[in-house]
């Protein structure tokens, strides 16, 4: 952690923002639980709810986000995508945004400003976000792009290329490292060089900070400060949200190589429970009000999944041979 972390948390956060962050965290956990029952390949994110909510809450129309896959669904939801259609996208139903052609768990609908993972390789979307930021700059639009990646992707050449490009061109892009300390089984402490990913920012001449990724207010404050800087023409920043993947790599992942006591210690630092205590202690909401939000969100998620499950599967006509190109049909 470096000292910028403390400064990045706004002194006063309004109640509406705090409750919105809480709601998005609870949504993230509820969706995680519901989807895990339907999709054995779902990449769970227990433990990372604060990093996700703090990152994706509070963007403006026209902003673009290239989320990490652990958080793509919450980002899509936060940007206004319809939850039933997102759930249909988990199941590949014809009612999903792409009629079952692709997965909403790793690829959000572009009509809501999402840049998804259009293949399994991580890293290239950091450049896509930088490119969107270049478009904003060329068009003098007051928009920003978020490029979100895990600790594993911090090792990729794409990460360096995108950051150097953004820095040299002073692009309105905010890089957020959702550092959950593990990439499938590869531990960040073994295979990510240096003390903190955020320290690399200095090498690119951009601001960088590490914040407590289990503290939604800290993440939100740091990301929004970087967003405001980018929006004002100040160029890119790097925010590292240091959290922990309490979940396995994916739901059916039976191979856990990390120490059980380490996982237990992080589970005890549950970001939602911590935040509930803060909200109650700070007089922002009482326990009953928080429970109501939780019930409401869970009902919404369950209803969306139930509806999506009842939706029809795509027929072979969705394959759409001849629709792979945009614009005119080819000769």
């Amino acid at each position: 952690m470096n000292d910028a972390a403390a400064n990045a948390v706004p002194a006063a956060t309004d109640a509406a923002t705090a409750l919105a962050l809480y709601r998005l965290m609870v949504f993230t956990r509820a969706a995680d639980a519901v989807i895990a029952k339907e999709d054995g390949h779902w990449h769970g994110l227990e433990g990372e709810e604060a990093a996700v909510a703090g990152t994706y809450h509070g963007l403006r129309d026209g902003d673009v986000v290239a989320p990490h896959y652990r958080g793509m669904l919450s980002a899509s939801y936060a940007r206004g995508a319809d939850l039933r259609r997102l759930m249909a996208g988990i199941l590949g139903k014809v009612t999903s945004y792409n009629r079952g052609r692709y997965r909403s768990d790793i690829c959000g609908p572009p009509q809501f400003g999402l840049i998804g993972l259009y293949s399994g390789a991580l890293g290239p979307p950091l450049s896509y976000a930088s490119g969107a930021a270049l478009a904003f700059k060329l068009d003098r639009k007051p928009n920003v792009a978020l490029a979100v990646f895990g600790d594993g992707v911090s090792s990729r050449g794409d990460c360096h290329e995108a950051m150097n490009l953004a820095s040299t061109m002073s692009l309105p892009v905010v890089f957020v490292c959702q550092n959950n300390q593990v990439a499938i089984s590869t531990l960040a402490r073994d295979r990510v060089g240096g003390r903190a990913v955020s320290e690399r920012a200095a090498g690119y001449g951009m601001p960088g900070c590490t914040v407590d990724g289990n503290d939604a207010l800290a993440v939100h404050g740091a990301v929004q400060a970087a967003v405001a800087r980018a929006r004002a023409g100040g160029g890119p920043s790097l925010v590292e949200a240091l959290t922990y993947r309490v979940a396995g790599h994916f739901v059916s992942d039976q191979v856990e190589t990390r120490p059980a006591d380490e996982i237990a210690a992080w589970r005890a630092r549950d970001p939602i429970a911590q935040f509930e205590r803060r909200l109650v202690d700070g007089g922002i909401a009482d326990a009953a009000a928080l429970a109501r939000i939780g019930d409401e969100v869970r009902r919404e998620v369950e209803a969306a999944m139930a509806a999506a499950k009842a939706d029809p599967d795509p027929g072979p006509e969705v394959l759409g041979v001849g629709t792979v190109y945009a614009g005119e049909r080819t000769k």
């Binding site: 572009p110 390789a121 290239p124 969107a132 490009l165």
Partner: protein
Amino acid sequence: MTRQTFQEATVAAIAEEMRRDPDVFIMGEDIGAFGGPLKSCDGLWAEFGAQGRVIDTPISEGGFVGAGVGAALAGKRPVVDLMFAEFLGLVVHPFGLDGGAMHYYSDGAAKVPLVVRAKYGVGPFHGHAYDFHSWLLNIPGVKVVVPSTPADAKGLMKAAIRDDNPVFFLEHMALYHAGRDEIPDGEHVVPLGVADVKRAGRHATVVATALMVRRALAAAAALAKDGIDVEVVDLRTVVPMDRETVLASVRKTGRLVVACEAVRTGGSANEVVALAAEEAFDALKAPIVRVAPPDVPVPFHRSLEKAYLPDADAIAAAVRRVVRA
């Protein structure tokens, strides 16, 4: 009529499209004040540099082609100068795997109007010669343009910039400064996916691209002296491929030779062979013959280069084989 080289015509097309559409911009390595290797962007900096529309990039091909994809998603129409096509391996992911899939996977919500241009080919510059364009044939959603003349280069570049899909535009270095050609006046746009019969003939069809078109025409001229009348079909775009023009020619002549600068195994010309075998087998009077380099990396010394790349004599010999059969 203006007379321009391949390089001049290509740059003129980019400049015209930049004047026509403020969303068009160009980025790449050393394309600013330097003007691009082999003058690939000559004059663009002077005209558009102050507008911020000619952007020098760091040496990070994956990064700036990816930035092109992102800018295209956000509504711009980027032209990315990859410098040399041998860097294709560094950009296949953003350009092809992701860029080519976005429109389809989003069910039409996303589009990627992006041109990546690159120089390649065995020629006077004696390096960066690799012709890897065939890799892209196995990636749905991208287009591949392989012009052979200055006029086609201009018209195809304009069409490529106006296209709403990722387009890989190949600029052969042996054709780049190899003489001027007449360029039609006014809006000269050559649609992607339309082949051109560069020479009509009755006895055999040679389907070729880029430098091989020129060599096929030389072979046809030599064969004409022996009474062999060759039709030369220039694909101009390998993807989409103009199946109708190829098949019509094969049905007319009944004999097919394909010539390609990519190595023999997996080369794009093989797609022409498959097309003819599937759709015009009944019209064939002789087995199809491929003329392509052997499966070795492009060698360095001129004598090895000459042994590697098929010349007009090799194409003529192939035509004689199919005509005699």
